[in-house]
Symmetry: C2
Subunit: 387 residues, 2 copies
């Protein structure tokens, strides 16, 4: 096992009826900015539950945070938060609203110029603080509810960049599976694939003698494979949705990556497909992951074989055959959730690959993957395998 | 899955050479009380590493904290900490030193009379704070390094009681497997059984449709079964010791019990055997657990069958046979670590059972176990099965 640090101070409040707990978790007397997305929370009863919980607080609202939240939109919320002297933000929505909220919370107190700097100039610009915030999660997927990271898109430049800091952990996250019952199938399937790929980025690398981390990762994968189809079939299945929700949270709270190498190349490449074509984040992962696993099957051999055996019961055939069978099982699982895994199914052609290569070259992106051996020319080949 | 709250703000610093990190983690200018046990840290190089890390700090020492730390001993440290205006405590040792440190940290600022009250009068006396503390762990076992609980023994009354509060999480815990290389086999085997039983208390209950929690628990059990014999054979096997150490931490950091019922009757009963006879904590668990599982095999049936199948590959025979085989496999595992599982092997006879029954009756102990259905007469029968 590699040396590691693990720190995660997010309080998780899980289960039905728990939105009421927000009343106690938000500091008394706080001026609260409630952030949300397209307004589904006003149709499914979540808005009313949150407002009831915050009835003793002064509440401002900022809605309209879009999927892959936009810097341009969020800067309006920053302006509002400054003007209204907001001292707590409550994110009510999915991972995009929460990622956007992390940005707002950090940007409000940022005093080193344009807040985009803490994404675009990570090496030079360190965050020194953020106003506190909490979350009511309505969409299991990104894991943002139990980590300090966020992904923000700048429309003007079609850039999709990440940031994170010890100041951007939610103080609490309320996970009530009942808030997700009205989700459309597309968002549920995206969530399953997103969580699944988060695990793969931290698990499907190379062995470092970390059997417990492996088993926890495999536990999340198996649970997603078992519970995913149930929630697709019946989004009001409380138990299945709860298990999916907790799996998505555990998939990216830092535990799986403690002491092991991580890949994240699939995400880095996938972000470009979203930035250029607006393809749902999870779907970009489903496009990239199988090709990346095939392309790196030699350096990922041991883990691919273990993954095949423990997750898909693939134990027969040559190593090559077992690896290919494991990747095909993954594709089949994604397809079973109505998630296409090739670029042409999203009407994306060779020209986009050229564009991504150019963007990576321009930004100096290099040394991706757990062995830092994926270069721009490898990205090109991986994407060609996904055509 | 049941509703739950999970909160664990302990920073884990894991790996070889990490004691040096203490320098940065202890607040600059703090007056530090370093607590330790019988002095083994002065023979294995840990003391020197800690002192080197604290060379910029003002350090006081309090050694001699015994296994099952004594209230009487700890009160001397409380006196010292008050006199010297200590504002940070660093526990250097195993779970007993750390449990004792939690008591000291809380007792120093306790203003409601005798600190024993926050153990003996839990319902009435709430902690309002504690001075901050961190840990350098030298013995994987109790999980105290990543939770807020502690067990303290009052010699005068032969009482062994627990306490815990949101104020008694360590600020950080340094887990360097190399600090454990000089442990005697007895402490290693105790640690394995302690961690194993911690998992069983949270896993071997009844199913509530929480497949991820089950799989994480099973992952810890399997890792302990695999790595335990390796560390017994070679305590300097860094990888095996590291995996054991991380498993012991994960066994009791709150994750396994999130959303599921928990038992803890084995611990409640075992504490009495330590209080009355000084039997090592882990050994009392090894005495009680098999009998308790047999005695409650009807209400624990589903989980016993799952445990047998997933941990010991027991899939043949009637339900009754499979359950008995799973319990026997557990006993065999304990015995393989040189841990005896019957009272007579510890020279304890029927009179002790009578004494425990009387103590439980006097303290009004009742409704133990995940179904709150273990009464004093059941405790008597369970202990009789362990004679």
């Amino acid at each position: 096992m590699n040396n590691f640090k693990f720190y995660n101070p997010v309080k998780i409040i899980f289960g039905k009826g728990t939105i009421a707990e927000v009343a106690k978790e938000v500091p008394a007397g706080a001026r609260v900015l409630m952030t949300y997305g397209g307004g589904s929370i006003k149709k499914n009863g979540v808005y009313e539950q949150v407002m009831e919980a915050l009835k003793e607080h002064t509440v401002f609202e900022f809605g309209g945070i879009e999927p892959n939240p936009h810097y341009e939109t969020l800067m309006q919320a920053v302006e509002l938060a400054k003007n209204e002297k907001i001292d707590f933000i409550l994110s009510v929505g999915g991972g995009s609203v929460l990622d956007g909220t992390k940005f707002i919370a950090a940007a409000v107190v940022f005093d080193q110029g344009d807040p985009w700097r803490f994404l675009a100039e990570k090496a030079a610009v360190k965050l020194k603080g953020a106003i506190p915030f909490g979350a009511v999660l309505t969409l299991p997927a990104t894991g943002s509810e139990m980590n300090s990271g966020a992904v923000i898109t700048k429309v003007a430049t079609k850039e999709k960049l990440t940031f994170g800091s010890p100041f951007t952990f939610p103080k609490f996250s309320v996970l009530d599976p009942e808030t997700t019952f009205s989700l459309p199938p597309r968002q549920i399937s995206n969530g399953i694939v997103d969580a699944f790929t988060h695990v793969m980025e931290q698990y499907l690398t190379y062995p470092v003698n970390a059997p417990l981390q492996d088993r926890i990762a495999e536990g999340v994968l198996l649970t997603l494979i078992e519970e995913g189809p149930k929630v697709m079939q019946n989004p009001s299945d409380y138990n299945a949705m709860g298990n999916f929700m907790w799996s998505a949270t555990m998939a990216l709270n830092g535990l799986l990556s403690a002491g092991v190498p991580t890949d994240w190349a699939t995400h880095m490449i996938g972000h470009e497909l979203t930035a250029l074509h607006g393809i749902d984040h999870a779907r970009t992962l489903a496009i990239v992951l199988p090709s990346l696993l095939r392309y790196k099957s030699e350096t990922k051999k041991e883990k691919l074989l273990q993954y095949g055996a423990r997750i898909w019961n693939i134990t027969e055939g040559s190593e090559e055959e077992r690896i290919e069978a494991a990747i095909q099982a993954t594709v089949k699982f994604f397809n079973s959730l109505d998630i296409a895994t090739t670029l042409h199914e999203y009407d994306v052609d060779r020209a986009t690959i050229t564009a991504i290569v150019e963007r990576f070259q321009k930004r100096g992106v290099r040394n991706l993957g757990e062995r830092a051996d994926i270069q721009v020319e490898d990205v090109e080949k991986i994407l060609e395998m996904s055509l």
